[in-house]
């Protein structure tokens, strides 16, 4: 039996995983979600402490592949911003990300009754990477080529009158939705005075958490789990909350497979008399 397990075709495990993921999506169990006080709660408190009317900048540093993890975070944070009366400026270091979230952010803003150009703006992707954002620190309008994502001149967008330079006076907080590079290093290195919150894919949490004790990050939202926590904090359970059952069960399956795999491995070694050699 253990021999068979040792030589099991990995495609059976893929199939088991897909089944374990699909069942709770169709029939949710409703497992509880607790909030991480050191990561997600800090992010929530940082944004929650901003005075009404402050401008929060979203840096969309991801593309379609990490949509499931990061977009629900964006929607939950927008809920909090609407309750607090905060303004939104959407920018991004990844060219595909901004167009990808454009409609979703616009639909969410519309549901709050936000007026484009007054309560929020999407400036679109600006090529040039870090150099461009550094240029925005000196002159935001020139660095951003003076147009938004739909090529509307900044002169016609009243909120842009408040953003002449990319600094802590204009932007109270940056929330970066990041799944890779370029990412938070841009802000940590060149804009350390602006509060930074990172909404992160799960794969990057271990390498990002060290920035929390030093204050370089004011909050960290970890993967889909973090998105579900944020949805709980804003009191609007959404997609992530509903997918957490599947996420948790799939992790249990993997733990079970790791234990079984180790038992099978050591048993076969013992049988062959190889253990310890």
């Amino acid at each position: 039996m253990l021999e068979k397990l040792n030589n099991l075709d990995s495609r059976w495990m893929y199939l088991a995983l897909v089944i374990v993921l699909i069942i709770p999506v169709i029939k949710p169990i409703g497992m509880p979600v607790s909030v991480n006080k050191d990561l997600t709660q800090r992010a929530y408190d940082t944004i929650g402490a901003l005075p009404a009317g402050s401008i929060v900048m979203f840096d969309v540093a991801y593309s379609a592949s990490t949509d499931t993890e990061l977009t629900p975070m964006m929607m939950a944070i927008m809920e909090q911003m609407a309750k607090k009366g905060l303004k939104l400026l959407v920018a991004g270091q990844w060219e595909s990300g901004l167009f990808f979230v454009k409609d979703k952010v616009a639909a969410k803003a519309k549901s709050f009754g936000w007026k484009y150009g007054v309560d929020w703006v999407n400036i679109g992707f600006k090529a040039g990477g870090i150099s461009t954002f550094r240029a925005m620190a000196t002159d935001f309008w020139k660095g951003a080529m003076g147009i938004d994502i739909d090529k509307t001149p900044f002169e016609q967008l009243p909120i842009m009158q408040r953003v002449k330079k990319l600094d802590e006076n204009a932007i109270s907080c940056i929330v970066i939705y990041e799944s890779g590079s370029p990412g938070m290093e841009t802000w940590i290195t060149y804009f350390p005075k602006i509060s930074l919150v990172k909404a992160s894919v799960a794969a990057e949490i271990a390498s990002s958490v060290r920035y929390i004790p030093t204050g370089q990050l004011k909050g960290l939202i970890p993967g889909m789990r973090g998105a579900a926590e944020y949805e709980k904090l804003v009191g609007k359970p959404g997609v992530s909350t509903q997918l957490m059952d599947a996420q948790s069960l799939s992790c249990l399956l993997i733990i079970g497979l790791i234990v079984l795999g180790n038992i099978a491995f050591f048993s076969s070694k013992k049988k062959a008399g190889h253990i310890g050699r």
Binding site: V25, K126, T214, S240, C251
Partner: protein, 207 residues
């Protein structure tokens, strides 16, 4: 009932083609892999041209800021990478300029991000965790010192501890990565179940 939207059908075929790699390598998978790469590159070029280069020209250069043509001309030297051998070396000028500027700017900037990290290791030692962090820091540093101390039993034991500490870190990173990959798979499964098959209705937020 299956969806009637052509756009979703295209996405479904693409998704299933990419997943077919899990069964085995096949031409169906390869075709969609190359399609995604080609489309991403094309999208990037169009975005840069349409949203930045064109705006740079019409909003600034054409309005009299001709000095911007100088860095523009230097940037064009990048393309000499593809020129015949005699002129190829010129592409190094813009590369050197941007490298020198970026490194100088990062090193001169206050506070230097890596110094904040170094300071953070020492400045607050009030709990067991802070001391443990400091010990792990020195242990891991000693692990990567290869030129001396290699005969000291104490240092060797510390290095052994460092190895376990690093394995713990890699374990956390690996666990999180696996969890993240499941989230991505969930996103695609939800797309198939919700947008294509209409078996569930969880809501928006996933595309």
């Amino acid at each position: 009932m299956l969806t009637q939207e052509l756009q979703i059908w295209v996405a479904v075929v693409g998704t299933l083609a990419i997943f077919s790699f899990l069964i085995k390598e096949n031409p169906f998978y390869r075709f969609f892999e190359y399609t995604v790469i080609g489309m991403s590159a094309a999208h990037s070029v169009v975005m840069t041209w349409d949203n930045y280069t064109k705006a740079f020209w019409t909003n600034y250069v054409m309005k009299g800021e001709y000095y911007l043509l100088i860095p523009g001309a230097i940037a064009l030297l990048y393309y000499l990478r593809y020129a015949p051998g005699k002129y190829q070396w010129l592409y190094r000028y813009p590369l050197s300029l941007i490298m020198g500027y970026s490194i100088g700017y990062a090193l001169a900037y206050e506070p230097r991000p890596f110094m904040v990290q170094v300071r953070g290791t020492f400045e607050k030692l009030t709990s067991f965790n802070d001391w443990l962090y400091l010990f792990v820091f020195f242990a891991v540093c000693s692990y990567f010192v290869f030129t001396f101390w290699n005969k000291s039993a104490a240092v060797n034991k510390t290095r052994g501890f460092a190895r376990y500490a690093m394995m713990a870190y890699f374990g956390v990173a690996f666990g999180n990565t696996v969890q993240g990959r499941f989230s991505l798979l969930l996103g695609r499964l939800l797309f198939l179940l919700q947008d294509w098959l209409h078996l569930v209705n969880i809501g928006s937020g996933v595309g």
